[in-house]
Amino acid sequence: MLNSGMLQTLLTGILETLYMVVVSTGIAYIIGIPVGIVLYITSENGICRNKPIHIILGTIVNLLRSVPFIVLLIAILPFTRAVVGTTIGSTATIVPLVVAASPFVARMVESSLKEVNAGVIEAAESMGATPLQIIWKVLLPEAKPSLIVGSAIAITTILGYSAMAGFTGGGGLGAIAINYGYYRYEDGVMLITVLILVVIVQIFQEVGMRVAFKTDKRIKR
């Protein structure tokens, strides 16, 4: 079962998975952080209260989040083809991953910002800070530990999504598990991919928690 060819396949799978997950998480954050910030500051008690924007953005986020990933994956195949020119392979998988992960990340960012002590924001306002100064110098730095924990959760969720993409010809460990384990009944390969996925999740989670703990100055050491 585990000949050098198989090892090579698994290694490629790991690299493809990491590529898909890291790139799509990165893009999802580039989209999700601003969206999360806007959701937060336009809310009822936010620093830039704006009901219409809050409701419209919130609805879009909820709509995207309510579609199961496997359905979204298939539903946006034409969009994926339009963006990257193909629907097969790891690069093509990044498109649905970003579409699914961005609203998720936006909500994670919003909830991290909500944890910031309202008094600190009030203090900044009392000093005459502009909304942009409050976002850059208060909200994001104060929420940093929580944002890091959130990113560890986001990355493991995206890893789970990426495995599903194997069904529609996406690459990575998910594709290996489906092709060998599901279509060819090679339980051993299936088990190994599962183990590798578990290890990757553990590493992401552990690193995220440690970095968050290290950067959090609220913890007495």
């Binding site: 002590n117 008094g119 600190v120 009030e122 203090a123 900044a124 306002e125 009392s126 000093m127 005459g128 800070a129 502009t130 100064q133 110098k137 208060v138 730095p141 104060e142 940093k144 530990p145 950067t215 959090d216 100055k217 609220r218 913890i219 007495k220």
Partner: protein
């Protein structure tokens, strides 16, 4: 310097509206330490937020150096807020920044170059007595130290006014005293006008020169601390000076007198003399002394015997000795 004209603030909720501040007018002069005292829910915190427009009043005007804050745009309001700093009950320091960086924060907002900001922050830390803790994070500082950092941060933009919202309410009595002493120092050395919101009479006694008593969103009396303290007119003011839970029990039917001693008489044996002169036993139901602005003041509630002749002798004696007194009802004090 700060003038409130008929300021009101009503909060609209889905089902009803709450009038937190109702028709408040008061004038705070340059150099004042102005106390605003009241029980919880009296609207003090909302009122102080109306002064720097953290809460926009729904009625009336707020004038700062003659400028109506309602007419300022966002940028001009921001600029005005830099000369009206604020400190809070819960300190509200940035938890992810060191003490020094917290003080740099308002300077960053004002776009002061980094090295000048750090230099200024160090001076301020020295002023508040924390020069050796510049690299400590708020979580590593005690409540009193955090409030000192908050005061230093508030002073960074060289404000003319410092608004203190229950600044000592989360601190123990000793720390409270030292923070109040620091505030008085700042008032005297830097000439910063201070507005103190509190529910504790002893805060007002220790540092304020003027006081306004608030109840249910309104100012029920105001004036120099000495006057309000010696002759409180409103029930709230009486409650704050002589808390209800220390209320006196009337023992028999004799009339009650409330004696007030000013700086001089607080030190002379008024009561012993009174008893000797009038040959009348009196019952002390309550007594205390307080230090207001460096002078000792005392008040005492006496019960006289139920005998009009001796009561008359006591009243005459008190009048002759120029000791302020007033008749009290048992259920009022």
């Amino acid at each position: 310097m700060i003038e409130l004209k008929n300021v009101s603030k009503t909060f609209q909720t889905a089902s009803n509206s709450v009038e937190a501040v109702r028709d408040v007018s008061l004038t705070i002069e340059k150099g004042d330490i102005y106390g605003i005292i009241g029980l919880s829910g009296a609207g003090k915190s909302t009122l102080v937020r109306c002064i720097n427009f953290l809460e926009r009043p729904t009625g009336g005007q707020v004038l700062f150096d003659g400028v109506n804050l309602a007419q300022l745009d966002r940028r001009a309001l921001g600029k005005t807020r830099k000369s009206m700093s604020m400190i809070f009950q819960s300190f509200n320091l940035l938890s992810q920044r060191t003490a020094l960086k917290n003080i740099c924060y308002p300077l960053e907002i004002s776009k002061i170059p980094r090295d000048r900001a750090v230099e200024k922050a160090r001076q301020l830390l020295k002023l508040v007595g924390l020069a050796d803790r510049e690299n400590a994070y708020p979580s590593q500082l005690s409540g009193g130290q955090q409030q000192r950092v908050a005061i230093a941060r508030a002073l960074a933009t060289d404000p003319q006014v410092l608004l203190c919202d229950e600044a000592t309410s989360a601190l123990d009595p000793n720390t409270t005293r030292s923070i109040l002493a620091l505030l008085r120092d700042i008032n005297q050395k830097l000439g910063v006008t201070i507005v103190v919101i509190t529910h504790e009479m002893k805060v007002v006694e220790q540092i304020c020169n003027k006081v306004a008593v608030m109840e249910a969103g309104q100012i029920v009396e105001c004036g120099p601390v000495r006057d309000v303290f010696l002759a409180p007119k409103s029930t709230v003011a009486r409650d704050l000076i002589l808390p209800k839970n220390e209320a006196v029990q009337k023992i028999d039917d004799g009339p009650l007198l409330r004696l007030v001693f000013d700086g001089q008489s607080a030190f002379s044996p008024v009561l012993s003399n009174l008893i000797l002169e009038c040959r009348t036993p009196v019952n002390i139901l309550q007594a205390n002394t307080q230090n207001i602005g460096g002078k000792m003041f005392g008040q005492m509630i006496l019960q006289l015997p139920n005998n009009s002749a001796s009561c008359a002798r006591v009243r005459t004696y008190l009048t002759e000795q120029k000791i302020q007194y007033s008749e009290e009802d048992a259920d009022q004090c």
